[in-house]
Subunit: 361 residues, 2 copies
Amino acid sequence: MTDTPLSPGPLSPGATIGILGGGQLGRMLAMAAARLGFRTQIYEPGDAPAAQVANGWTRAAWTDEQALAAFAGSVDVVTYEWENVPAETLDLLEASRPIRPGRAALRVAQDRLDEKRFLEGLGLTVAPFRDVPDLGALTAALAELGRPAILKTRRLGYDGKGQVRIDDATGAAEAFAAIEGADAILEGVVTFDREISVIVARGVTGETVCFDPGENVHAEGILRTTTVPAALTASQRQDAVLLAGRIVSALDYVGVMGVELFATGTGLVVNEIAPRVHNSGHWTEAACAVDQFEQHIRAIAGLPLGDGRRHADAVMENLIGDDMDRLPELLAAPDTRLHLYGKAETRPGRKMGHATRLTRR
Amino acid sequence: MTDTPLSPGPLSPGATIGILGGGQLGRMLAMAAARLGFRTQIYEPGDAPAAQVANGWTRAAWTDEQALAAFAGSVDVVTYEWENVPAETLDLLEASRPIRPGRAALRVAQDRLDEKRFLEGLGLTVAPFRDVPDLGALTAALAELGRPAILKTRRLGYDGKGQVRIDDATGAAEAFAAIEGADAILEGVVTFDREISVIVARGVTGETVCFDPGENVHAEGILRTTTVPAALTASQRQDAVLLAGRIVSALDYVGVMGVELFATGTGLVVNEIAPRVHNSGHWTEAACAVDQFEQHIRAIAGLPLGDGRRHADAVMENLIGDDMDRLPELLAAPDTRLHLYGKAETRPGRKMGHATRLTRR
């Protein structure tokens, strides 16, 4: 905590990093911060597994002005593990402490329509999309993009939530009702060879470092596995890394970002960006000297980015709900690093942990 | 925390591990416990960097019966990061909760004379030594072992503390005064090719796993670097691993132990054992899927031991006192994993962190 205005220089060990959101990403950020000698303060109204490994926990509503002021006063920089932090929360915090990554990235990532337009504006390829503020627009968009297509709310979607697939049997009105009439976009379905992601970091001085792209498998909208290396051509790998760098530079971004891509026969299509550490980057903890969590902390603390080269091939598997029953087997598996999130209750669909197996060393 | 008597089975995620001692070893144990979904409670009367990443901190004297009872009641198993926890503390805790590693190892490791006798009793080679309860015994021992020799207090020595080197110019009375007349032993000086250590783990079912031996360089009694692999012959490596296994089995040990050895032309000499995670095992965090801290937590939680194979060569360097001035260089070094301990104040001789460089991947 500093009483004086923040210096633009790097944070020194002992400084405090405020983290908005108390889930597993915040938890892993807090542990990475601790390894670099920083203190952490979690802001989270609900359950906070992150608080178990943090120095402090501000448990208050996102709009609690007094709590936000106290939180801001106790930290040197603010970051987040969750891109849907309300704008009014950020307004209050930003008045006294830097928020990294900055507001531009949040604005773009909080709204699927703005995100698509931003990415298109950079000359990148995205899935065909239409703005569908109402049922009439949806009907017109379906006629243009064809079926199947995916109706997605503009805001607050993650892990497949806020999405409806529209195939030949789905009525437009029915789909619109399923997302409760929220502002939405319609997305054409992209035929792809594989889903990949790039975890990219950008420091305060503009330097950019990418981890090797991982190949992702989803089921029911939730990430199941990430495999590195992804089966890409040299040119696809290079495109992925260049495009990720282009995105973070355009946003004057500071921190780690997850960029999800489709690899298709005609090039890479940007699916979405997440302005935070990303589930598909968890393998870095087992296979790199500096992982995505430390890389993010280094960036927002103004430190030089670390060496994120892989020293092993790896497969990261998410442990979701009943996957926890497999713990005895996973604990005994060779070359496997297990990471559980300290969540009190196992629920279907809930991310409880992950396991990374080193497949070639 | 359990209200019912402890089952002999493995702890489940959510269980609480009590850690006696709040320094950097406790801190790294707490982080490893968190990664396996356990909660931690630190017991430490003084400053406790470990408490920054733990669920709770009992800040009380080692002899505070009320605090100890509350601590015991809040945890499922007790472990320690420091072998000199007073016996009365352990007596109080042991009445209600298992202490792992057990008392036998602590008894041996708390007293250099008992330790030497125990190791000799196993048929292992130790430095020549004599029991020197008084000045007369010291004079006689010096005549037998010759000079130089090292006078060491039987209890409470670490990092070169409680030791006096006696060379030709040192008077026996002067040496005895330097250790304030404490019960002591005299040790002959061993001529060695290199100092190595084995980090060995033993689980509740008796299984034993060793990390690859590391080669240590000390200065002023403090570990400076550990390098893996150590420059050993195949037979020395095998001997090191076998003797470490023999020691933990003889003690019915549960947890991780550091075994310091001298490699000499005529075989391995056991220097000392530490019934806890060990500074010379810090490299495991950067070069193994399961590191010494997780291995210890697995053992004391009754879980299967993990795969501790190395996937890289590494050099771990301790950051002591002013070494912290080198942070900018260390943060920018390739292939390097930095770990700081969150200590508020840098002091000469104080261990502030460590850096592990992967030298071959």
